[in-house]
């Protein structure tokens, strides 16, 4: 199974969600399929994509959040599984593309290539819905199932260790960050907007006094 085929298969789901990815090959592949304002590519800080998705999911309970993680990144922040499981946001789907390799830095094998079982770790951490998938049909079904289940889901997708020739794209990091943030804020629910506008009003009043 190729990761780019997986991304193509779930692209309609990604278009409807707030998406946070890891760095390297994955964002280059996703951008090759088409960038959207609701995609944020965390092009460093390995391990923190899942934490970013958790922060988003907790602050925007009405939105579906999809994290596109990798085995190397998740292994750097295994505690994130226990933190996600602790708060169990129902709107978060955590997909881990496991190619058993640190592909972007030369293809050195990770511990999932020598027996570490991320599904077992996620389950034992307390993630309520966990699955490992190895073919495109089961992958697509697992992602759609996770989005519809309304329960925190981690999906381990076993993929081949191949990727694009180059990782740098024309989209600058800050352009992506501000576009994503503007988009996410435009989706806030009326209740959220009310609390936000209250805060803004206060600032405006203070300015007027001065």
């Amino acid at each position: 199974m190729l990761r780019v085929d997986c991304l193509r298969a779930i692209y309609p789901e990604l278009e409807k969600s707030l998406v946070v990815t890891i760095m390297g090959a994955l964002p280059a592949e996703l951008q090759s399929l088409g960038h959207r304002a609701n995609f944020f590519y965390l092009q460093h800080a390995m391990g923190l994509s899942s934490s970013t998705g958790l922060g988003l999911a907790l602050c925007m309970p009405e939105q579906k959040v999809i994290v596109l993680d990798g085995d190397g990144s998740l292994l750097m922040n295994l505690g994130s599984l226990s933190t996600m499981a602790r708060y169990r946001p129902r709107n978060l789907v955590h997909i881990v593309f496991d190619n058993e390799s640190l592909l972007s830095v030369g293809g050195f094998p990770t511990a999932t290539g020598t027996g570490t079982d991320l599904e077992g770790i996620a389950r034992a951490a307390g993630i309520p819905r966990v699955a490992t998938v190895r073919d495109l049909e089961s992958f697509k079904a697992a992602v759609i199932g996770g989005v519809q289940a309304n329960e925190l889901t981690t999906i381990i997708a076993k993929v081949e260790a191949t990727g694009p020739a180059a990782y740098v794209t024309g989209l600058t990091l800050l352009e992506n960050r501000f576009q994503f943030s503007r988009h996410a804020r435009s989706l806030r629910t009326p209740e959220d907007r009310l609390s936000l506008s209250k805060g803004n009003k206060k600032v405006t009043q203070r300015r007027r006094v001065r």
């Binding site: 800080a45 391990g47 923190l48 806030r188």
Partner: protein
């Protein structure tokens, strides 16, 4: 426990007043009252972490959603979060309000805290992170709110060092 509950309430009140609605935290002695206050407050989302670096991602997610947040941690937790601070908060211009208990400085009895105390300020300076001290009740609220405002306006991490003088009653 001689952690000042009065001054903890003062700090918590200031966080609320400047609009903070999400706190990520890893417990340490000086922070117990602050964490309890967040736990009991229905307006505050408290996220208990396994490691402080997670808090950088959580605060970034909150910021993207338009929610003001803060991180509560010991200075050793700040050391553990540095890669996230540099390669996320600095790289992507994310405002981070970091409340850091300044252990291992003058007056410290626990030998294990002392090395972290030595390097806290040099590291903040090396990273170019603006910081201030909360050391007396009279100025604490104003300084904290100013730090929060600077983090938001400059889109960068700002540190507030919680000192022994404010947090501990001998």
């Amino acid at each position: 426990m001689p952690v000042s509950s009065v001054n903890s309430s003062l700090i918590y009140g200031a966080l609320k007043e400047c609009g903070v609605r999400l706190l990520s935290a890893l417990p340490e002695t000086w922070l117990v009252h602050l964490i309890r206050l967040a736990e009991q407050d229905r307006e505050m989302t408290l996220v208990r972490l396994a490691k402080e670096e997670e808090g950088v991602g959580i605060s970034a997610g909150a910021h993207f959603a338009g929610v003001k947040s803060a991180m509560l941690m010991q200075n050793h937790g700040f050391l553990a979060a540095i890669n996230g601070i540099v390669s996320f908060a600095h790289l992507y211009k994310i405002p981070l309000l970091m409340l850091i208990s300044y252990r291992g400085s003058f007056g410290e009895r626990d030998p294990w805290q002392t090395q972290g105390g030595n390097v806290t300020e040099p590291l903040l300076r090396a990273l170019g992170i603006p910081y201030c001290f909360l050391d007396e009740a009279e100025t604490a609220k104003k300084r904290l709110c100013h730090a929060q405002r600077l983090a938001e306006s400059s889109l960068q991490p700002v540190a507030v060092l919680l000192t022994r003088d404010l947090m501990w009653e001998e």
